[in-house]
Symmetry: C2
Subunit: 254 residues, 2 copies
């Protein structure tokens, strides 16, 4: 079995965020698989097949790419951000575990990328400068009460919270409910960063507080970072504020 499957992180958008390893993996592949808008970011190459699919078809996409590799091909699945963070690498592992035994012998390479929370954090300052967590707000794959329990545990314990998949047409109320829960736990003046399409030409960054977060537009292209009690905002004349979480807790050490 000589086939190969690479699962490649494109980073947040622009090719300036692509690593050399990701570029090489995309060049080497004879067939690309992915959600259409991600595939569109990869320059066309002659002789390279492209299989676009919907973003709800992760399982079928993983299996198609694995079948191609099992037949001796060199497949690459493209993922926005990092393939290991709420993306295709877990889907491929699930498919391998439940698939034919021969898939366990395939050469699988996961190529990391700049995940959205790192890109948004970089634009805002250093909100992830201390302990933090990353949580998907989608209740398609876990019950809402698990999400509430995790938000509560993370906020209470002092983690900054990066929220992936914050809102969609099918999930309109969850984000507001999360903000309300976090405001009770952390205080209404806790800083919140809304990053939308960061790393792309239409990028937008908004710094707000939990109290006024309900009025800030968000969609599936948004990544939201909610600060901890320690997160600070530095106002800057004529520039966007810097939001950061100090390295030390409560004045300890340094």
């Amino acid at each position: 079995m000589s086939g190969r499957l690479a699962i490649v992180g494109l980073g947040p958008g622009d090719e300036r965020y692509l690593t050399r390893e990701a570029y090489d993996a995309l060049q080497t592949a004879d067939a690309l698989y992915g959600y259409g808008p991600y595939l569109d970011r990869v320059p066309a190459r002659q002789g390279q097949a492209r299989h676009a699919s919907d973003n709800r078809e992760e399982g079928a996409r993983a299996e198609a790419a694995l079948r191609h590799a099992a037949a001796g091909g060199c497949a690459a699945i493209v993922s926005g951000g990092d393939p290991g963070v709420f993306a295709m690498a877990a889907s491929v592992c699930e498919a391998i575990e439940s698939g034919p035994q021969t898939w366990r012998s395939l050469d699988i390479a996961i190529v990391p990328g700049i995940t959205a929370m790192l890109a948004v954090a970089a634009r805002a300052g250093a909100p992830l400068g201390h302990d933090f967590c990353a949580l998907s707000l989608s209740d398609n794959l876990k019950p809402w009460d698990v999400i509430e329990r995790r938000l509560d545990a993370a906020a209470s314990a002092g983690f900054v919270i990066a929220i992936y998949n914050p809102i969609s047409r099918a999930r309109p109320w969850q984000l507001g409910k999360a903000f309300a829960l976090l405001a009770r736990r952390l205080g209404a003046d806790t800083p919140v960063i809304f990053g939308r399409a960061v790393g792309r030409p239409d990028e937008n960054l908004t710094v707000a507080t939990l109290a006024d977060s309900g009025g800030i537009p968000a969609d599936m292209a948004s990544l939201i970072i909610v600060g901890s009690r320690e997160t600070r905002v530095i106002a800057r004349p004529g520039l966007s504020p810097l939001v950061y979480t100090p390295r030390a807790v409560e004045g300890v050490g340094a």
Copy 2:
């Protein structure tokens, strides 16, 4: 004030993980600042000054680079991994907040990089495929009881845990204590991934369980990922196992 300061993430080591944006920022700078071993990864360029400092001198390094930028220079601070994750971006924000007012007018750019947990996760499979947190085990900057409370909260709520700064000569017992706490909470057979120097020529990856983690060597170049109750290990004949956390909780949806 025309000076500029970039805080640049080098990723885990090899230049294959460097983004184009990071490469350009390093090229543009007329003075580089950083921990010696990180500076050593950046190819020398004529006319570019280099200021190496110890890894305990983050505050002084940030101030030196800010002074250079305030004098009209083009400074770059290099950081391993991502500058926003337990690294230099927070130190620079701290220095700006407590420094002269003029520093708030400087052009500050934070250039994200592949942080260690993404590199280690990619080598292992998809352990961060579901909700996760990142926590520094160093009790230099926060009390040990805060660390224990966070480990407990994160494990109880179902987050996979990426442990940065797991152990050092000055902090020899904390990691063992963390493993013992997590084993009580999660079960002794919970998967643990030890990644050392991942992305560099001497990289090493070990998959163990909480029960046998005490016997696995670790140091400051290690990044450790402790699974949740949902994390799974797929054995592969002749290949290292794939460790992943399914996207769905307890058989929900898909």
